[in-house]
Symmetry: none
Subunit: 137 residues, 4 copies
């Protein structure tokens, strides 16, 4: 039997709170998705003004980051024609804004942001993780 660590709902709310605060600060209402270590949705918030298309995109980013244990922008950098990973973008999200959430060296979930530019999405996702880690430390 395996023993897995997984974000709980309170953890998810900390992640959302940190991401929301940064999104508010930069003036870009976002969709924020939090998934568990297997990629299944735990919590989601579309801030007032967040894009409808980002409902799915935020979830895809969070899924990729957690299930593949890699930031979406890292896939983005290598997923180019001629590179052996090219093509992965039809199955996983490679758009910047999805980050794995790691505790004690283990991926316990993922966060995905969408509605801004990828750098804005990435900044807010990181802010979510920073706030979460500050709460549990």
């Amino acid at each position: 039997m395996l023993t897995m660590q997984r974000l709980d709902q309170q953890d998810a709310q900390h992640l959302i709170a940190g991401a929301r605060a940064k999104a508010t600060e930069i003036g870009v209402p976002m969709c924020i998705a939090i998934v568990d270590e297997s990629g299944n949705l735990i919590a989601f918030e579309r801030m007032d003004g967040g894009k409808t298309s980002s409902v799915i995109i935020a979830q895809e980013k969070a899924y990729t980051a957690a299930a593949a244990r890699k930031a979406t922008h890292e896939y983005n950098q290598i997923c180019q024609p001629g590179h052996l990973v090219f093509g992965i973008h039809t199955t996983l999200s490679i758009v910047g804004g999805g980050l794995p959430v790691t505790v004690n060296g283990e991926v316990v979930g993922g966060i995905g942001l969408s509605s801004g530019t990828p750098p804005q999405d990435m900044e807010c996702a990181q802010a979510g993780i920073d706030h979460f880690l500050a709460q549990i430390s």
Copy 2:
């Protein structure tokens, strides 16, 4: 030009809070989905212990209730072989637990619950609406 009334994020949190409180009271951790009047997700919470399969089912119920402006259990009762609505269950959710959210006679969103029996899901969805309406009145 049309002017639409739509749940905002605070409304969605009131709906979730009411549903969560009832789910906690009856001892059944739930997945809770809130969508806007177009059926697009605004907020989602998987309570600790909520079923993985309910992540999708809760969203399908909320979507149906808002977009079709009808409670999923009402579709359930008429969606029977021989009735002309039979077959709608391949496109919409007809499992009890999805309710439209109506304000001033207008559907402004939907709530979908999943993880319990349909009567439990329906009870928690209604508790969400009751709590929401009490907050805005």
Copy 3:
């Protein structure tokens, strides 16, 4: 943070071995799928002669049993026109042959069998669980 128990690969092989032995005994080559507690595939075996269509069906049964924490034949009995759960069969498998795998009162995975009649599938799924539980006790 939540701590989850999940079948490991050796557990999955015990489940398959028990199911395979029963399938061989009754002379019906089967597809056998084992998923974790979230419904994601851990191991799969199509016995020589197993049906091609059962590749998917066995996985759907295992997914349902684990993610919804309920045997597929239990859903089957209540998923009838006029019952509030009717319609769930468009999202989950309600065909007999999927069983949750429970250890210490916690669902840690699921097993799905397909290629025989539902009673045959159910018998082989149960044989898989019996063999697994005998190995870990």
Copy 4:
């Protein structure tokens, strides 16, 4: 009438054993999928620690290699903007790690690996084939 040669379950287990041994050697737990000459799944193993997202990707690679009778990394090299094969990546996997299994000049199945880098996945897939061919020679 056609007579097809197809991997049997024992062949599939040889393929998995060889791939698993190499994955263990390089320290990267993998998802390993084996399909028949038509692309339908015969056997699957997610090694403890294999990625959830790789459950699907490993199967896509194995499917492509067998059904299209071409290694996924060969598609990868030609699937570039301006080449007439470009676009095939929306239907088939072109990520390195899927190899056809050929016996007596005939494709009898496919193997797909996922969780490492494409070169790691390719190395483990080849190790599976090498081990299989050694067993049947």
